[in-house]
Symmetry: C2
Subunit: 207 residues, 2 copies
């Protein structure tokens, strides 16, 4: 199975690298980072660059795409090379997936009309504008479209995908490889449980 992850300026690193690590450990799966042209692409903290090893035109028909989100998503919505590649790749994918605000890019490509989909809590209000039926679940599977909530939800999404695209045993083996038995030190990861003060403090970090 060949996975392509498009990178664009100011993506969120964990959005891409969570699913990458899950899927790249699956036997027989390969992952290619793509961009407008090969070379380093810098994340939204400005402190990490991942190398795209291929241009979009070199990877026209991956089996799976994983579109990350990030502070740069809104600017990327106007990037027709990226959005066009997503649209054209989707015509042949077995699975078209996103993490975080990446679902807005699927929406910009016209792929979410009438579909159930999720996104980062800070941007779910924009998801309905794409014609999606926006929900606040962590991982949403609607046919071949699989969307994840914010950032770390990409790990849950990729394991869910692997369970369906390969089999449960493979997904469980990868989960054990990455020792994904989470134990957050605080219970602060869900917007529905956040105080107004916490929500405001988190929103400030996203500006």
């Amino acid at each position: 199975m060949h996975v392509a992850i498009p990178l664009y300026d100011r993506f969120t690193a964990l959005d891409a690298v969570g699913p990458y690590t899950v899927l790249a450990f699956a036997p027989g799966w390969t992952v290619t980072f793509v961009a407008a042209e090969p070379g380093p692409v810098t994340d939204d903290r400005g402190q990490l660059s991942i190398a795209a090893t291929a241009g979009y035109e070199e990877v026209p028909r991956p089996d799976v795409i994983v579109v990350p989100g990030g502070i740069g998503t809104f600017e990327a919505l106007a990037d027709e090379a990226l959005v066009g590649w997503i649209r054209e790749a989707d015509a042949h994918t077995r699975w078209t997936t996103s993490v975080c605000s990446g679902s807005l890019l699927l929406g910009a490509a016209g792929l979410l009309r009438g579909r159930r989909a999720t996104s980062h809590w800070a941007v779910t209000g924009f998801l309905a504008d794409t014609g999606a039926r926006a929900v606040t679940e962590r991982v949403v599977v609607d046919g071949k479209i699989v969307t994840a909530a914010g950032v770390s939800a990409g790990i849950d999404m990729a394991l869910t995908l692997l369970g369906q695209a390969a089999d449960t045993e493979t997904a469980e083996a990868v989960q054990l490889v990455i020792e994904y038995d989470p134990d957050p030190p605080f219970d602060a990861g869900a917007i529905g449980k956040a105080s107004d003060a916490l929500r405001e403090r988190a929103a400030a970090l996203l500006r």
Copy 2:
């Protein structure tokens, strides 16, 4: 607070990028990826490269170091430039941390003697050889040394660290930013709960 994450050939991507994303979203924190020399460093799947932006000698006194693990750790144990940098940096850090088999590198630098420490389940047997008191906990804080279990445990470690090095409110805000309210689709992330078949399947993916 200035964090340095050393990269070496065949590190595991999520080991580095989980803590990176947590700490780089914290207000006032900056993260630098370092290596023997600046340039791209390729991970243990051979499919991702992250750019080191500084050589070791350029970042001699970071406040925090986060040492990732990976398939390449055992070869890296003999890399005196890396191990020497860890040892010398630790003399001045406020926190010295590792993820996964990265704790073996802390051990090689002589930092774990008599310390409680953890690692990836596949390599905990080697941890005692460093003089550490090896335990199977997910995150272990022993003074300024903080070690995490395998791969994804680095996210829990970084949030724990942030709660102590900054404050609870900051750590909770970052947790909400990365929407870390984990919901794994399978209950397969802990070695203590794994069947022999699952353990063997996972071990095969690490070879």
